[in-house]
């Protein structure tokens, strides 16, 4: 793979996406306000849950805020990259414009996953990072090199799992054509990731660990923040990330054999 070429193309993607989005200034402002209100609403909802009992599933409110912070960062990444690009796959397949993507001398998964960037999601990422810094302060977390490396690894794994899940569902479009609802269901499940996994029953924990690995997406990075993460859990998250990335990639290549293009 020519890394330099991919870097140049990605720079172009960023440039054209930002230029496209900046054509509609009001939309950016509305999205930014929505992101802020959404975060305030989520924290308010979380505080209501903690009002009567001091903790949920063994997690204090200040600790649960870390999960909210990680969720906000991941949601920001979803809104910046996954949502604008992977939703496009459905449109590409329905309208037959996937033809243009497949005929470009560049990896089709790269093209379809990174062509668009929604800058309004950046604000959500920044808000999430700010919330995480606030959590570090109120939970008196010691920032060590070990902490930084593990946080980075687990958050990167979370992003990759989320991407693979989303991409896997979007790929089914090749057969079913319309799969808007499936990605919406996935988003609904992700809302659950704002709460500690230990607050759910055993069977739900099992479901959110094996079937849809929400547990790995938010809870494990939060445990790293609090110094509660066990090393086997981090290794398991890395292994699951690898499985998800490979599977989604192979599934995409397999699905393309069944692409019949739209009629003219």
């Amino acid at each position: 793979m020519n890394k330099h070429k991919y870097l140049v193309v990605y720079t172009k993607f960023l440039h054209t996406s930002l230029a496209s989005e900046l054509e509609y200034k009001t939309n950016i402002i509305i999205d930014a306000i929505t992101a802020m209100l959404s975060l305030v609403g989520s924290i308010f909802l979380l505080s209501i849950f903690f009002q009567n009992s001091g903790n949920i599933g063994g997690w204090e409110f200040e600790q649960a805020l870390i999960i909210q912070g990680i969720y906000t960062v991941l949601n920001g990444i979803t809104n910046t990259w996954f949502n604008p690009n992977l939703k496009e796959i459905v449109r590409h397949v329905r309208e037959g414009t996937l033809d243009f993507v497949l005929l470009k001398p560049i990896d089709s998964q790269f093209f379809i996953s990174f062509k668009k960037v929604a800058p309004s999601g950046f604000l959500e990422i920044i808000l999430g990072v700010c919330l995480l810094f606030y959590c570090i302060k109120i939970n008196q977390i010691n920032i060590s090199l070990n902490f930084l490396i593990l946080s980075l690894i687990t958050i990167t794994c979370s992003i990759c799992i989320l991407y693979s899940l989303w991409f896997f569902i979007s790929t089914t479009t090749i057969w079913f054509v319309k799969t808007w609802n499936a990605t919406e269901v996935l988003r609904s499940f992700l809302y659950i990731g704002r709460f500690p996994m230990s607050s759910f029953s055993f069977y739900l924990r099992l479901f959110f660990s094996i079937i849809i690995p929400i547990a790995f997406i938010t809870t494990i990075p939060s445990e790293v923040f609090l110094g509660l993460a066990k090393i086997w859990k981090i290794i398991l998250e890395i292994f699951i990330t690898w499985i998800f990335l490979i599977t989604s990639r192979r599934f995409w290549l397999f699905a393309l054999n069944y692409y019949s293009s739209a009629s003219s």
Partner: protein, 331 residues
């Protein structure tokens, strides 16, 4: 000797297609138990295309022209048979192969809707590994050929259909492809834009010796660009050869309008044994076989007092209609 750039042998393609009965009952049945059947849309076709040729694919809607084109450029995997394009198997979509071809679809666009076309050109240039300086040169060359300049800096959504199509062409040709697949490129364009596009394709072919495979429902596109046509009927090739030869075969008669100097001469000519289509006063229209046109005209000019004479070709659309309806042509 010119080499074959495209070789297709015993190519077939089947699709699983579901059908639905009308009404609520049909809808429910379709939802719960979808009946699909395998339909062979391309049936055992074989042909070759030489480098630099312009080939027109003719046929009715649903005959299989676009499916053939999409198999040739590697978008659809064939069910049976083989395709070789410049030595590549298209459906593998190797990077080197993709750099040699381009697909232009009249009804679909690749340009970024909210941005001026120039942004899409530079994005495509980076995808095709073309540096900025070279890209600039190519954009200038193509935009000069297509006579489009200021429009390159206006958002695509504000351009007319003709301007958009010209921009699509630049985006699709920036990497100097050797094989062009064009699926109804003049669809929806006005007569001037159609003519400009045809002229551009002619000069592009002449300049670069690129091979062009074209489908179109505008017969003028076919007659002005293609020497050779492949007629597709119900997934099979019904004719593959020179367009001229096909037209001659399908229209063996020419219509000759003769203006006689008097009505008396016209009456005399009417009864002289020629096949008469119509007669109005001193004007008479005869139907003469292609092979007898020169000898018949010589006889008429020598024996009758003629004021004027016009030879009419039958309308091309009528001939093409015959091609589309009729199943098989053997010559």
């Amino acid at each position: 000797m010119i080499n074959n750039i495209i070789e297709v042998e015993s190519l077939s393609k089947s699709f699983n297609i579901s059908s639905k009965l009308p009404g609520l009952r049909g809808t429910l049945k379709h939802f719960f138990k979808r009946e699909t059947k395998s339909v062979k849309v391309i049936k055992n076709i074989t042909f070759e295309i030489k480098e630099g040729e312009i080939i027109g694919f003719l046929g009715a809607n649903g005959a299989g022209k676009t499916t053939i084109l999409k198999m040739l450029c590697g978008l659809i995997v064939p069910s049976e048979g083989s395709i070789s394009i410049s030595g590549y198997l298209p459906y593998r979509r190797k990077e080197d192969f993709l750099k040699k071809i381009t697909l232009i679809m009249g009804q679909k666009q690749q340009l970024i809707w909210d941005l001026p076309p120039i942004e899409s050109f530079y994005l495509n240039a980076s995808i095709y590994d073309i540096d900025k300086f070279e890209a600039k040169k190519r954009i200038k060359r193509l935009s000069d050929m297509l006579e489009i300049k200021n429009e390159l800096y206006i958002p695509v959504r504000k351009l007319s259909l003709g301007q958009r199509m010209k921009s699509e062409l630049i985006a699709a040709l920036i990497h100097k492809p050797k094989i062009l697949f064009l699926d109804e490129p003049t669809l929806g364009l006005d007569i001037n834009a159609q003519r400009n596009l045809r002229e551009f394709l002619k000069s592009y072919n002449k300049e670069t010796n690129a091979t062009i495979c074209l489908t179109s429902h505008y017969m003028k596109d076919i007659t002005s660009l293609c020497k050779r046509v492949i007629c597709v009927h119900d997934g099979s090739i019904s004719y593959d050869g020179e367009l001229e030869k096909l037209l001659k075969k399908l229209s063996p008669l020419k219509e000759v309008l003769i203006v006689c100097s008097s009505e008396k001469d016209a009456n005399k000519l009417e009864n002289s044994g020629f096949k008469v289509k119509s007669k109005i006063k001193n004007e008479i229209t005869l139907k003469i076989e292609n092979k007898n046109v020169s000898s018949s005209l010589r006889t008429i000019l020598n024996n009758y007092d003629i004021e004027d004479l016009f030879i009419n070709e039958p309308p091309i659309d009528e001939i093409i209609e015959k091609i589309i309806v009729k199943k098989k042509y053997t010559f």
